[in-house]
Subunit: 250 residues, 2 copies
């Protein structure tokens, strides 16, 4: 059956998250219903990441099997048409082989956490960023964040609800960069634990405020104890940026 | 009476515009009510520009007279507090002399018009940009736009509802720049006619699509005839960026 790789942008604000749940509308359900309205098929659409309620995506990747071969642009446009005014947009659809799996073939996930570092409330970017004050030292955050890179037991930065078999993961890279009043934390890894990026962000903010040192962050990591984590940053600043695959990003 | 210059960010989506009107909530009314709740005074708050419904501001300037001398940061925070969850944020308050007038002392207004040039619907930037397709030639737009610079009768680019005494204005500068899938039109002048920037934007898009040439734009300007204008771009892409004043921007 023809398989299509979908790259998806969404505003997570009004959703319970990517994954179908009993307690409200999910992004997955919205797309599955659009596919059903387009071609009459019941589908189950796996994705590279399962974002929480309020978390956004600029380039989530999912795949869908459709029993007819369509021109991929037609698949993209038809799903978008049936999504209507919901804040979900299929940015691209590409024909892929049946070996491609959005979740299991993914070799790298990239996230961005956006902080708006100002005293004044948000008007234009409500639900799009975490506003915090006082002023953060982004350079200190970037320097401290480097202790997180590499293969570690990330229990400290893992939600108690995390379903991953192991807390040991390899963080490939992390950077903290200021652009005007915004501070961006970007990180990439083969896979992440539940709430790992938000736990990094909340803890790095303690470094940015001068409350924690790089050494404190290292000790928290080494403690491998959830209680050693700083505050968990709220969902609205988090964006799933992209998923990479072998074979020229396929 | 102490006068304060306010710099204001707002999301124009839910408002009838800056100015008080009978038919719905305005930004001006929201701020005047916040001032009343803060210090019990009825005020009338003039602004550098009167944006239409749906038009945003990153740096609108207004002024308010308050019968007590407060530390300016206190004025900013108190108005923000009383604005509550409304998408309006006072970015700064500064003590100014009674000669300062947000509208009449203003020597330069700057606007930005944001276009998102893609086929796929918007998810994260709904009501923040004008999405259009096909691909626009931003360089051709920038080149053509230069015919608008200088002192001209801008009747072509003026709403029939415009209340300005004269259609003759001096456009100081205009630029069109692509950044990824976004195309930004920025312009600055001492003052603008009603719908002038949206009329520029809609007409320049015709150039970007290859339907109009630079020569067509020049002829439309010289016609000094509203009927010669291209389509008027929608409000959601327009941002009032800043207002400048003599005496070190005061």
């Amino acid at each position: 059956m023809p398989r299509y790789k979908l790259t998806i942008e969404y505003d997570g604000t009004g959703f319970v998250g990517w994954q179908r749940q009993e307690n409200g509308p999910s992004v997955q359900q919205a797309i599955e219903e659009a596919v059903k309205n387009f071609c009459g098929m019941e589908t189950n659409i796996p994705a590279a990441g399962r974002t929480d309620s309020g978390v956004h995506a600029r380039g989530m990747v999912a795949h869908v099997d459709i029993d007819r071969a369509f021109e991929p642009g037609k698949v993209r446009d038809a799903i978008n048409f049936h999504l209507g005014a919901q804040p979900i947009s299929i940015l691209s659809a590409e024909a892929v082989s049946e070996e491609f799996h959005a979740r299991f073939s993914c070799v790298r996930r990239s996230y961005e956490y956006r902080i708006t570092n100002r005293r004044m409330p948000l008007a234009l970017d409500v639900n799009r960023t975490w506003r915090i004050w006082p002023a953060l030292n982004a350079e200190a955050m970037d320097d401290a964040a480097q202790v997180l890179v590499g293969r570690h037991d990330f229990t400290t930065f893992r939600s108690s609800k995390c379903q991953s078999e192991s807390p040991v993961k390899s963080l490939e890279q992390i950077s903290v960069m200021r652009a005007g009043e915004d501070v961006y934390i970007r990180c990439a890894a083969r896979s992440f634990l539940h709430n790992q990026v938000r736990s990094f962000a909340g803890t790095l903010v303690e470094v940015g405020k001068g409350k924690w040192t790089k050494r404190d962050l290292k000790k928290a990591l080494e403690a491998a104890d959830r209680a050693a984590c700083g505050p968990v940053a709220p969902p609205e600043g988090l964006y799933f940026l992209r998923a990479d695959y072998e074979d020229v990003n396929r």
